[in-house]
C-alpha cells in the first residue's frame, strides 16, 4: 500500500447521503482503496486528477440482476445463437467472452464496470446451486457481488411449517442457510407456488392452501420476513410475489404488502406484479394503486424490473409462471425443470415488441411505478436483468426517467392504445441527478446494509464514478469519464483500462447450531449431498485469489430499521 493520496480535484460531488450538496466543487481524497478525510497539509499527494466540475458519484449498485448460477447457465445453453453472434475477442486486458443479454461471466464484469457499476447482486441462488453460483461469480471480474438464497419452496421448510415449527426454529434454519450458502439475503419466489406447481397447481393466491402441505403463501411470507427481522439481517425479505404476470395480480401484490403488516420487505420486479384487468383486453395498469400502497408503507422497498423492447430471455425460479408463459417463447424453445426439490427453474426466451399492446403497456407500467413512487430511497433501478432487458440498457432507462420529452417521444412511438390506457403521458416528473444517485447507489446500499458503499464519505470503499454532465443522459451514463474500483482506475470514457477482483458480500447472523440435528438426517434422506459437503467454506471463495469476503454487520438496536 502506498502512503500517498490520490486527489480527485474539483468535482461536483453528488452524494445524497447528506455529506455533500452536489452543487459546489469539492476535492475527494482516496487512499488504500478507501475514501479518506481531507489529509493534513504536509501529506504526500500522489496522483492528481483534475475533474473540472464533472459529476462525481459513488459506484452504482445493482440490487437485482441474474448474472450467475444454474439458470443463467441454462439460459446461455438455450440460446447458442446469441453467443455466436455476440462474441468479444480477448485483448491485453480482457479475457474473451460472448453474449448480449446472458453475457458470459467475464464480459458481465467488464460491462458493469464500464457503465460505472461496482456491485451487483444475484437474486436467485437456490441453496443446492450455491456452490456453482459462487464459482461462477468468482469469474466475474472487478465488481463486488452477493447472492440471495432462495427459500420458501424448499420441502424442509414447508414440511416443518406444516408440522408446526416454531418461529425460532425457522430463524435458525434461515440463518444456517445464509451461512452455509454464503448469502447476503433471502429471496422468496412465488411463496409456496413453485412447490405447489409440482403438485399440479397452476395458480396460488395468498390465502390458498398448498395442495400437499396445507400451508398458505401468507404463512410462508410472514414467517420468513419475521425470521430476517428477528435475525437482524439488514436486507429484508426479497419477495417475488405470487401470480407473476397474470392480469389482476395487483390484488395479490397489495395483499402481500398488507400481510407484512409493517415488517420490512423488498418487493422485486414490481412491474410484473402491477397488472389490472380493466379495458377491452382485460389487461390494464395498476401502477397507481401499487405505487400508492408502496408510498403508504414505509417498511416496503421495491425494484421495478422495467422492460426494454427487444430480444431477451426470461429466467426465473418461478416455474409456475414460466410454464404458463412457455407458449410465448420466441424463438420457440424453452426449459422448465425442477432443481433438487429445492425450487424450480424456467427459461423462456422472449421478444418485447413495442407495437404489441401488452408489451408496450408493461413498458409504461414500469415507468409509471418509477414516477409515481415518491421516495427514491425505496425504489431502485432494475430491469430484472435479463428478464425485462439486459443491464446494459440502464443508461437508456435513466434517460427515460430524467427526460420527459424523450419519454413522451418514445410513448408516441409505441402501440397507440397504450397512451390512452396509461397515465404516463400526463406525469411531469423528471428524476434529478441526486434522485438517480439515490436509486442506483445510496438506496440499494442502505437496504442491503452496505455501510461503506453507495456513498462518498470518509471511510467508504473508494468506488467512484466521474461523469461528464451531458444533456443526453443516456450517453452520459453509458460511458462514464472515469470509474475507480477500490481506488484504482478501471475504466475511462466507457472503456476498460484495468481489471481486478471485487469482494463477495455475505451476512452472518447468530443462530443456535442445534438446528443441524434436524437438518443432518434431512440431507441424508432427501438430498444428493450430505450436510457437511453442502456447506460452502470461506476458503472456497477466498482460495481463488479473486477478491475477499466482506461481511455485512447485522443491525443493532440503534440502527433505524427503515
Amino acid at each position: 500500500m502506498s502512503d500517498a493520496y490520490t486527489l480527485l480535484r474539483g468535482g461536483r460531488v453528488c452524494d445524497p447521503t447528506g455529506a455533500t450538496d452536489g452543487g459546489d466543487l469539492r476535492d475527494l481524497y482516496l487512499k488504500d482503496g478507501r475514501i479518506a478525510a481531507t489529509p493534513p497539509e504536509d501529506a504526500r499527494i500522489g496522483e492528481v486528477v483534475d475533474l473540472d466540475g464533472r459529476i462525481v458519484m459513488a459506484g452504482a449498485i445493482d440490487i437485482h440482476s441474474h448474472i450467475g448460477g444454474g439458470k443463467v447457465n441454462l439460459a446461455r445453453l438455450l440460446l447458442p445463437e446469441e453467443h455466436r453472434e455476440h462474441g468479444s475477442a480477448p485483448d491485453g486486458l480482457r479475457r474473451s467472452g460472448s453474449g448480449l443479454f446472458t453475457p458470459s461471466s467475464f464480459v458481465t464484469g467488464y460491462r458493469y464496470a464500464e457503465m460505472g457499476y461496482t456491485a451487483a447482486f444475484e437474486p436467485a441462488m437456490l441453496p443446492s446451486n450455491a456452490r456453482h453460483t459462487h464459482l461462477e461469480l468468482a469469474d466475474v471480474p472487478i465488481i463486488d457481488k452477493g447472492c440471495y438464497a432462495v427459500l420458501g419452496n424448499d420441502d424442509f421448510l414447508l414440511e416443518r411449517l406444516a408440522a408446526g415449527a416454531t418461529q425460532s426454529e425457522v430463524n435458525d434454519y434461515v440463518a444456517w442457510m445464509l451461512h452455509a450458502t454464503q448469502a447476503v439475503g433471502v429471496k422468496v419466489v412465488n411463496p409456496g407456488g413453485i412447490s405447489a406447481f409440482k403438485f399440479n397447481q397452476r395458480r396460488l393466491d395468498l390465502d390458498e392452501a398448498h395442495p400437499h402441505y396445507g400451508i398458505t403463501p401468507r404463512r410462508i411470507l410472514t414467517t420468513l420476513a419475521t425470521a430476517l427481522s428477528d435475525l437482524r439481517v439488514p436486507h429484508p425479505l426479497h419477495i417475488h410475489c405470487n401470480n407473476l404476470g397474470i392480469p389482476g395480480n395487483e390484488s395479490v401484490t397489495r395483499d402481500t404488502i398488507a400481510a407484512l403488516d409493517g415488517l420490512p420487505a423488498h418487493l422485486t420486479h414490481l412491474q410484473f406484479h402491477s397488472y389490472g384487468t380493466e379495458g377491452d383486453r382485460r389487461f390494464s395498469s395498476a401502477a397507481a394503486e401499487i405505487a400508492e400502497s408502496v408510498n403508504r408503507n414505509p417498511n416496503i422497498s421495491v425494484d421495478v424490473g422495467q422492460i426494454i423492447f427487444g430480444q431477451t430471455i426470461t429466467a426465473s425460479a418461478d416455474i409456475m409462471s414460466q410454464f404458463r408463459n412457455s407458449g410465448l417463447a420466441s424463438p420457440r424453445k424453452w426449459v422448465c425443470t425442477d432443481i433438487e426439490c429445492d425450487g424450480g427453474c424456467g427459461l423462456v426466451p422472449f421478444r418485447y415488441r413495442d407495437k404489441a399492446f401488452v408489451n408496450a403497456l408493461q413498458w409504461a407500467i414500469g415507468l409509471e411505478l418509477f414516477l409515481l413512487i415518491e421516495d427514491p430511497w425505496r425504489v431502485y433501478l432494475t430491469t430484472d436483468h435479463p428478464n425485462g432487458g439486459p443491464f446494459t440498457s440502464y443508461p437508456h432507462l435513466i434517460r427515460l426517467l430524467m427526460d420527459r420529452s424523450f419519454r413522451n417521444e418514445q410513448l408516441a412511438r409505441i402501440n397507440p392504445d397504450v397512451a390512452a390506457h396509461s397515465r404516463l403521458g400526463s406525469i411531469d416528473r423528471e428524476y434529478t441527478l441526486e434522485e438517480i444517485a439515490i436509486m442506483t447507489r445510496a438506496g440499494p446500499a442502505r437496504v442491503l446494509g452496505l455501510r461503506d458503499r453507495g456513498h462518498l464519505r470518509a471511510g467508504a470503499v473508494a468506488d467512484v464514478v466521474v461523469y461528464d454532465d451531458l444533456p443526453d443522459r443516456e450517453a452520459m451514463f453509458a460511458a462514464p469519464a472515469l470509474v475507480f474500483k477500490n481506488g484504482r482506475l478501471v475504466a475511462r470514457n466507457g472503456e476498460l483500462t484495468a481489471t481486478g477482483w471485487g469482494d463477495t458480500i455475505v451476512v452472518r447472523p447468530e443462530f443456535d447450531p442445534a438446528i443441524e440435528r434436524r437438518l443432518k438426517p434431512w440431507f441424508e434422506d432427501h438430498q444428493t449431498v450430505r450436510l457437511g459437503n453442502f456447506r460452502i467454506a470461506d476458503g472456497e471463495i477466498l482460495d481463488h485469489g479473486r477478491g475477499g469476503l466482506s461481511i455485512v454487520p447485522t443491525l443493532t438496536a440503534s440502527d433505524s430499521c427503515f
Partner: protein, 269 residues
C-alpha cells in the same frame, strides 16, 4: 472468369480464421485492400498480405493453398467458388448457403455444419460432425450437398433436416444422430449406433449392420425410388463411385422408435 490466388508465405504459427476470404466479399476490393484485411491468428490478428502471396484478380473464384490450421474456409459462402489445394482445418463451409467449396485434401471438424445450400466437395477424409449442427442448435444441415471421397468421423449428418451427404469411405459412430430428414449415403462401412435418435430421413449404406434396438427390421424390399436416386446421382459431379450403382434392392430398418421412428436405414444390395 477472374481468379484470385492465395499462396502461403510459410508455415502457420497458429490457427487462422479464413472466413473473410469469400469471393463475393473480395470481388469489390483491390489487391492492396485485400492484403490489408485482418485475419484472426490464434489470439491475435495478422494481415492477409503477411500470411499469403496474392496473385490474379478478384472475381468469382478464390484459390487457396491449404493448411490443416486454416479454419472456417468458405464459412458463410453464398456464391462463387473456393478451391483449396491441400487440406483445411475445422468448420470449412460452415453455414454456407450457395456456391461451391472444393477441398482437394482432407477437412477437419464440422465441415459443412449448418449448411443451407451450395456444394461442398472434399477429396480426402472429413473429421467428426461432417454436415452436423452448430453447438446447441436443434437443426443441422438444412440444404445443399456434401460429397466426400474418403471417410468421415463420428456424428455425420447430426440433426440434418434436408440435403444430401455422400461419403465414399467409412463413417464413424452415431451417423445421422437425431436426423430429422434428408439423405445420407455411406459408400463404405457404417459405424456403431448409426441412426440413433432418428425421427425421419434416410441412411443408405452397403453390407451388414447391427442395427440399434430402436430399429425394426423390415426385411428385404424392392424400392423403386432407389433407381430414381441413382439416376439423380449420375447427373451430379463428384459423387463417390462407391455410392453409385443402387439396384433398388435393399434391406430396410425403420426407426428410431424411441423418437418417432420414421427414419430408415437401407442396406443396399
Amino acid at each position: 472468369m477472374s481468379m484470385l490466388s492465395f499462396r502461403l508465405k510459410g508455415p502457420l504459427t497458429g490457427r487462422v480464421d479464413a472466413s473473410p476470404l469469400l469471393p463475393h466479399r473480395l470481388a469489390a476490393m483491390d489487391l492492396t485492400e485485400i492484403a490489408a484485411l485482418p485475419l484472426r491468428l490464434g489470439r491475435g490478428r495478422i494481415a492477409v498480405g503477411d500470411l499469403f502471396d496474392l496473385s490474379g484478380s478478384p472475381g468469382d473464384t478464390v484459390e487457396l493453398e491449404g493448411d490443416e490450421r486454416l479454419d472456417f474456409v468458405g464459412a458463410g459462402l453464398s456464391g462463387g467458388t473456393i478451391r483449396v489445394a491441400g487440406p483445411v482445418g475445422h468448420r470449412a463451409g460452415t453455414g454456407m448457403s450457395g456456391g461451391s467449396l472444393v477441398v482437394e485434401g482432407s477437412a477437419g471438424l464440422a465441415a459443412g455444419a449448418a449448411m443451407r445450400g451450395g456444394v461442398l466437395t472434399i477429396a480426402g477424409d472429413a473429421g467428426n460432425e461432417l454436415g452436423g449442427a452448430l453447438p446447441g442448435e436443434r437443426a443441422g444441415m438444412t440444404g445443399g450437398r456434401i460429397l466426400v471421397r474418403g471417410s468421415c468421423g463420428d456424428r455425420v449428418g447430426e440433426r440434418m433436416r434436408r440435403g444430401l451427404i455422400a461419403v465414399g469411405g467409412d463413417a464413424g459412430a452415431y451417423a445421422a444422430l437425431h436426423m430429422n430428414a434428408g439423405s445420407l449415403l455411406i459408400g463404405g462401412r457404417p459405424g456403431a449406433a448409426t441412426g440413433h435418435g432418428m425421427r425421419n430421413g434416410t441412411v443408405l449404406f452397403r453390407g451388414e449392420i447391427d442395427a440399434l434396438p430402436g430399429f425394426a427390421d423390415c426385411g428385404l424390399n424392392q424400392l423403386p425410388f432407389l433407381s430414381l436416386l441413382d439416376n439423380h446421382l449420375s447427373e451430379l459431379d463428384w459423387v463417390p463411385p462407391s455410392c453409385r450403382g443402387l439396384t433398388g434392392r435393399a434391406r430396410r430398418w425403420l426407426g428410431d422408435r424411441g423418437f418417432g421412428g420414421r427414419g430408415e436405414l437401407l442396406s443396399c444390395l
